[in-house]
Symmetry: C2
Subunit: 345 residues, 2 copies
């Protein structure tokens, strides 16, 4: 098996720097767009045979070193009773967003191994299909980011409703995030039990918080998820964007690896989180929209800052953008491997 990715997560030496891309399966691929003509995003997530097809779409055409389960952060919202819809080009919209403690009380209890069995079945099928070729990453959302989606109910740049809820309905906030933490701990452990070989927790919007707020409202809940995952022997990755100011806190949340975005140079991020963590990142996904010479030199800068250190997983600082040319993604993965491949000794 190609175990570069798992080895790098554990900070073990690798033959070449492992590469995968957040949203490596998605709208930038013609095969995915073709399937989306026939099925909605949630239909694909709900049907294991479709989710398997989409997960595998990039695997054969891009030199990635890991597959990531095709699903959506908000899939667990459906059994909770939150009515999620994906509005074209606008992302998720929730018909009954959470605005009060009463709304938190109305969330349904459920057992992820039953209500989300289709995700676990997708993982089991994927392990068969991958047949040891590549490791499979499972994932879920961190409580702050899930709560932000649930409360905003639509796109936001300020997270004004989320923060107003945190500050004004603090007890309800912590109940909501506790609920998400319990749910995600169960759900992610179930993903591992079904065959996921690593878990990434997305706290995508945590960078909207100042440090004191991050410590009070987000961090304790995310910590519980990583504490639960410690019972399973798989590498964990914590990912968020715009975290330069809260990185020292993220370093102690409990993940083995930390995903950082392009805003902070990788060597400086590593100096903050310490060499006892693997680092994942951190090329600006927009570089894939430009000419390849510029793309490669930006990738080389990331690699130079990683300095061949054990524990670097090459990735973007956020997901592949829908307008990205596939051939640039292919060329980038190949370039990272060629640049870092050690001669056989």
């Amino acid at each position: 098996m190609n175990d570069r990715f798992l080895r790098a997560c554990r900070r073990q030496p690798v033959d070449a720097t492992p590469v995968w891309f957040m949203r490596q399966a998605g709208r930038y691929m013609a095969e995915y767009r073709a399937l989306r003509q026939r099925y909605s995003l949630l239909e694909i997530c709900r049907h294991p045979e479709l989710a398997v097809v989409v997960t595998l779409q990039p695997i054969d055409v891009i030199e990635v070193d890991a597959a990531i389960l095709f699903s959506d952060l908000l899939v667990p919202f459906i059994p909770l009773g939150l009515e999620v819809e994906f509005v074209k080009n606008e992302g998720p919209s929730i018909a009954n967003p959470i605005r009060s403690e009463h709304d938190v009380d109305q969330l349904r209890m459920f057992e992820p191994r039953e209500a989300l069995v289709h995700v676990l079945e997708t993982i089991r099928l994927l392990r068969v299909e991958l047949d040891g070729r590549l490791p499979l990453i499972g994932f879920g959302g961190a409580p702050f980011t899930l709560a932000a989606y649930a409360i905003e109910g639509g796109p936001s740049t300020s997270y004004a409703r989320t923060k107003a809820f945190m500050y004004s309905q603090t007890r309800a906030w912590h109940r909501l995030c506790s609920r998400f933490a319990d749910l995600m701990a169960d759900y992610l452990c179930a993903q591992v039990d079904a065959g996921a070989q690593a878990i990434q927790v997305f706290d995508s919007w945590a960078g909207a918080l100042g440090r004191a707020d991050y410590r009070e409202f987000a961090k304790p809940h995310t910590e519980r998820i990583f504490a639960a995952l410690a019972s399973r022997d798989v590498p964990t990755i914590h990912f968020a964007v715009g975290t330069a100011a809260i990185l020292p806190d993220i370093a102690t949340v409990g993940s083995a690896a930390i995903g950082v975005d392009w805003r902070q140079p990788l060597d400086e991020a590593w100096a903050v989180v310490g060499l006892d963590h693997a680092l994942q990142g951190n090329l600006d996904p927009a570089t894939l929209l430009g000419p390849t010479d510029r793309l490669f030199s930006a990738a080389d800068d990331v690699l130079n800052r990683a300095a061949g250190r054990a524990g670097h997983i090459f990735n973007l600082g956020h997901g592949v953008l829908p307008s990205t040319p596939l051939e640039n993604v292919q060329a980038l993965a190949r370039h990272v491997h060629e640049r870092t491949l050690k001669a056989e000794s």
Copy 2:
């Protein structure tokens, strides 16, 4: 005259920490919403008598130490030939966004003292109305942020089109930003000549750039604006959000004061930019949506981190949110003054 704000910009001792708020005139005020029933945003900007009324709306009801010209970053787009519209709740939209070097060539040349004379007239009227009570801040956009608006043409979180343009049409990018730099240098000097007593340059979206990109694509153009303003004897403020990773570069752009958002604690930001700069900020605007005890303790944290040092201008880390209760803004300004007022000696 209340010169706390101007003194703080120059890092001179003050009797109390000066306060003003970005978007202190705006949708959170009932008087403003009432006026907006009758006039569009651009109509208000275009008519000095209306812009004066709106600028003064917060002055009499909130203990602020500065007035800021009511206008919009995109007002200079109109004489350039860019068709700006403000779509309800979505912000600006541009019917003919810039997508090519040809589009850059099509931008009309104009003399700000003529085409934007209504802004300068607003400033002259405001100085008469303010009659020395409070200093008046003028403002404009930095080239990167203006270019991002011009290229995206609508809301964006990834700035994918902007970055693709930068990377792929680099020559056209620099011509566009040069044009903006020249224009803003003229326009902002004209604002000073009309009576603006300080100038804030908004590079609101610069935090979307990694450091190397900031240095290559944004910084040199912004520097030219501050270099031009050096010919006028007024304090300058550089403002951007999400700048923790590029703050060392922002410190050398050439402004007297630097505005930072809430993500980075003020004392740490000050350690980065150095004590030869004044600092403006940096309370999370969302704290104004919560209970006042929490609001005051968050404000106290900002004040404690400023440690009574000369050169602190209290402000939010971004604009007042539309859902903000006016009484919280009033209470916050009063609180900052009470907390920092020095006893007469």
